[in-house]
Each structure stands twice: as C-alpha cells, then as structure tokens.
C-alpha cells in the first residue's frame, strides 16, 4: 500500500501500511512482554508454568 495523494478538497489520510506497522508494534510489545515475563518466571521459580 503506498500513500495516495488525493486531490484538492479531499481529506488527507494515512496509508494502510502505517496501521500495519502500528499493529506490528503492538504485537511486538505484547511479545516482548511475554518473553520478559517468561524470563522472569524462569529465573525466579525455575519453570514457566509449573507450580512447585
């Protein structure tokens, strides 16, 4: 998707790729958080899900 230059009189809108990047950022944030939480669980308790 490439930005579309609209004619005069039309609203300027962002290209759809921008939202894809935003979603990627959101996904990356969630993924990074998950990895961080898993790392913390593993380092502190020695396991990720199992309850001793």
């Amino acid at each position: 998707m490439s930005p579309v230059v609209q004619s005069r009189g039309k609203k300027i809108t962002a290209a759809d790729n921008l939202y894809t990047v935003i979603l990627a950022v959101a996904f990356f944030a969630v993924f990074a958080t998950t990895v961080f939480v898993a790392y913390q669980c593993y380092t502190q308790y020695g396991t990720i899900f199992k309850i001793q």
Binding site: A26, A29, F36
Partner: protein, 293 residues
C-alpha cells in the same frame, strides 16, 4: 480500511503498550517469593536445627541436673548421717565435759577436805609431839625411879634372903629343941601338943614401895631481878614440879628461895622469894639450887 478499524487499531496498540508497560513494571517490581521462601525455609531449617540442639542441650541439662540432684541428694544424705554422728559425738563430748566438771568439783572438795584433814593432822602431830616430849620426860623420870626401885629391891632381896636363912636356922634349932623336949616328956609318959599358929604364915611378902628422898640439885642458868624470876638447869625430867621450893646457896651462904612457876623437860622457871637487900647476896648465874639444905 474504514476509520473505525483504524481507530480500533490505534486504540488496541495503545492499550497493548500500556498494558505491556504495566505488566513489565509489575513483573519487574514483583517480589521474588521463591527467594524469600528459600531464605525463610533455610531460616526455618536453621531454627529447627537450633530447636533440636536446644532440645538436646535441654535434655542433657535435665539429665545432668538429675545426676547432680541425685549426687547432691546422696551428699545431703551422707552429710545428714555425718551431722547425726557429729551430734552424737557432741552429746558424748558434752557428757564427758559434764563428768569431767563433776570430777573436778569432787576432787576440789576432796582436796579441801584433805587440806582440812592435813591441818587437823598437823595440829594433832604438834599435840602428839608435845605429849611425846612430856612422855619422854616422864619416861626418863620413871627410868630413874625404876633404877632406884631396882636397887632398893636388890637390897631388900638380900635382906629377905638373910632373914630367910635366919628363920631356917631358927626352925632347925626349934626342931632340935622339940626333939629334945619330946625325949624328956616321953621319959615321964607325957607328950607335947602340936603348937597352933595364931597368925597364918604368908609365903609371899609384898614389899612396900620404897620411899625416895627428894634431893634435887641444880644451878641457876638465867636471872631476871627486875621481874624477880630465875631459870634453873633441871626440869620435869629430873622430877621438878610446879610449886616446888628450891633453896639457892652460894658456898655455905643462903641467898634466897625459888618457887617453881613453870616447868619444861630440861629446865624450869620460878619466882624469887626471900631476896636480901645486899648486892653481894643477889642471885647470880651458876649459883646452886637444891630442895634440901
């Protein structure tokens, strides 16, 4: 893509970032419970070990206390026996002390009695010695009298023997005369009657005690003209008695008389009487005294 979708994408992303930030912050700041558990568990184990050690020490202490209590009980019992024994010894010692005190008192009383007895005996000894002196003087006097009596007896025995011989000769003459008289009377047919004694003949004649002429002679040993007293050299042993009168002479001259006042075994003291005024006729030492002039 519709606007709503875009808005939702933006909101979803924003919410995700916020939530992720919150989660990361929470997880990063969350406590490490496992570490806390481990530390607490190790602390618990250490505490439990300490408890066990404390229990062990407590048991050991209790056992040691029991042993010490038992040992102290035995010591208390032995000390109690020793105390009883010492009390018995003390009672015996007190009894011995009382007995000793009684003995001391008894001995003190006995010693006092002995002292009194010794004093009495000393007095008796002094009296006996004085009496012995008197008896000795009397014995000496009696010895002299016995000698005089023996001499007189010997003389009288000789006289009696001479008289007995004379009597025997007279009896023989009498018998001869009796025989001659019998012969004369038989010639004329007569007999003489047996003469009867008027008094009984005493075979044993008791001799009268010989009279002794008191003739005591002595000398002056001390003169006290101030008190008119004089001491003579003869005493009780020679027969001097209180109240006797002695005549004091010097050569053929009469000086004075002495009346005996006090007598000792070997000397006597008397009162001077009939004292003359002339100084040459005063009594002196070594003047002669006698009972007979």
């Amino acid at each position: 893509m519709s606007t709503l979708t875009k808005v939702l994408i933006v909101l979803l992303t924003f919410a995700s970032i916020v939530l992720c930030a919150i989660v990361v912050t929470y997880v990063a700041s969350a406590d490490n419970y496992k570490q806390k558990y481990d530390s607490l568990y190790s602390g618990y184990q250490a505490a439990k070990k300490n408890e066990d050690n404390a229990k062990t020490q407590l048991n050991n202490t209790i056992e040691e206390k029991d042993r010490n209590t038992e040992k102290l009980g035995e010591q208390i019992a032995s000390l109690g026996e020793e105390i009883n024994k010492l009390k018995g010894d003390l009672a015996n010692a007190e009894r011995d002390r009382d007995d000793a005190n009684r003995k001391v008192n008894n001995w003190a009383a006995i010693v006092m009695d002995f002292s009194k007895t010794i004093e009495n005996n000393e007095k008796l000894v002094k009296g006996a010695l004085a009496e012995r002196d008197l008896k000795e003087a009397e014995l000496i006097k009696q010895g002299k009298e016995l000698e005089d009596t023996t001499a007189a007896l010997m003389e009288n025995m000789a006289i009696v023997k001479q008289l007995q011989e004379g009597s025997k000769r007279l009896l023989e003459e009498k018998t001869e005369l009796q025989d001659k008289l019998d012969q004369y009377l038989r010639q004329y047919g007569k007999a003489i009657a047996e003469p009867m004694p008027i008094t009984t003949i005493q075979e044993a004649v008791s001799l009268a005690p010989p009279t002794k002429d008191i003739d005591l002679n002595g000398s002056i040993t001390e003169v006290d003209l101030k008190n008119l007293l004089a001491e003579i050299s003869i005493g009780m042993a020679d027969g001097v008695k209180e109240g006797m009168r002695f005549h004091l002479t010097r050569g053929d001259k009469f000086i004075c008389d002495i009346v005996i006042l006090d007598v000792w075994p070997e000397k006597a003291v008397g009162w001077i009487e009939l004292l003359q005024d002339q100084p040459q006729n005063q009594p002196k030492i070594n003047d002669k005294v006698s009972t007979n002039l």
